[in-house]
Symmetry: C2
Subunit: 250 residues, 2 copies
């Protein structure tokens, strides 16, 4: 039988009794209607998963007893930071969900010129907190024991690598439309073995501006993904699947 | 300027005056509010696209004058038939949309043991017609001039290749959960150059049954896509992106 999985950041070692976060307690009691004595799986979001047993389940909180360590879904061999330009409406939720599912290591939202939203609006709407909840929810579904970090949204200039190179780990690949620049390679032209880490930059619905690609090209390899138009909110998933195939993750 | 694209199956040659299908006429007049004299692009769904000009636009119908042939998004070099087990609710709509976007050649829905729907219900709900409309809509968005065929849903046994091999063109790859069978390969282990055509079999939310994989394994290669759980409705997109990368489509 497959046991339901819950995010329990306080889970460290067998034998401990810990409380689930409030969201997870609601999910356990009201959605799944689990109770004292039921078996579950918990993961701490930093790589550890355990069997666990519900010790008490009230609407005000759920305590669980941590049992044996448990194997979680393997992490990808290439640690990919997805630098995703903020998309319209709820589309970023889907991108975060899908990126976590396929195996991203971290997500750096950026406000690009054509992102139709301002950083202030993201902050007022507590969007980062929302994306963090989406990441947790997706990790629960896909079997990972790690919850990828969703970083604070930044303006594009701040992450393009000219200001602070640490924000683009490994080789940085910027996805662009075919034919938009002279120095664009196909994804298949990437040489060498899989890197240990990489950054993948995906633009907003309207694409990167010429200024943005020019700025990024000092630090990033510009790559394309065939000639058919991919929806903005599917681009990260398609690009990561293609890169993982290229890098023999599959 | 990018002109709106419409599906016009009757478009064959420059100079013709043709009527748009009713759905497309509604889209042109009521959604995009275009009128006589406006420039559009039409594609006939079989590979040809043309510039065109609206000659008359009434609620009862739209006539357009076909202009010069126009280049459409390139078709994939490998002609992939997606054999997709029917998913719950509207999830097949998303699979059809995404498969067309990434470049599928045809879609064969199948009713698998764990598909929670019967063929009769699909027929009564006119689901195939609905999926055909989704395919047209996706072709409009992604720039293709071909609308992939959505075939009549079949029971799994009828397409598994033992009854009628023509229903699984080229090498047939069945996606399965990792560790579910002894003779499973990783996608990266596929040998040789890209085939001219291929079939890709994707199961329902609960996966293929052992009986189905056993039946299919006589004809299909069983492959996996890493150890993280991919949502049923994202599986086709992820697998096609990975295969296209493997086959140097990108």
């Amino acid at each position: 039988m497959v046991h339901a999985r819950f995010h329990a950041p306080d889970a460290h070692a067998p034998g401990e009794v810990i409380a689930l976060p409030a969201d997870e307690a609601v999910h356990l009691t009201r959605v799944l209607r689990l109770a004292r004595g039921d078996r579950i799986v918990v993961f701490n979001g930093r790589g550890q998963a355990f069997d666990a047993i519900v010790q008490s389940a009230r609407k005000t909180g759920v305590d669980v007893v941590i049992g044996s360590p448990r194997e979680a879904a393997p992490e990808a061999r290439v640690s990919v930071t997805l630098v995703q330009a903020v998309l319209k409406g709820d589309k970023m939720d889907d991108v975060v969900r899908d990126a976590v599912m396929i195996g991203v290591a971290a997500i750096q939202p950026v406000v690009a010129t054509r992102s139709e939203v301002a950083r202030g609006a993201l902050e007022r709407g507590r969007r980062r907190e929302r994306w963090e909840r989406v990441a947790i929810s997706s990790a629960k579904q896909c079997g990972r024991a790690i919850v990828p970090a969703v970083l604070e949204p930044e303006p594009f200039e701040a992450i393009s690598g000219l200001v602070d190179d640490r924000k683009l780990p490994g080789p940085a690949l910027m996805l662009v439309e075919p034919g938009s620049q002279a120095d664009v390679s196909s994804l298949g032209d990437l040489e060498g073995p899989a890197p240990r880490e990489a950054s993948l930059l995906i633009g907003p619905e309207g694409g990167w501006t010429p200024e943005e690609t020019a700025l990024a090209s000092e630090r990033c390899r510009l790559i394309t993904l065939g000639g058919r138009t991919i929806r903005g909110d599917a681009m990260a998933l398609v690009a990561m699947a293609a890169l993982f195939a290229k890098w023999r993750e599959y």
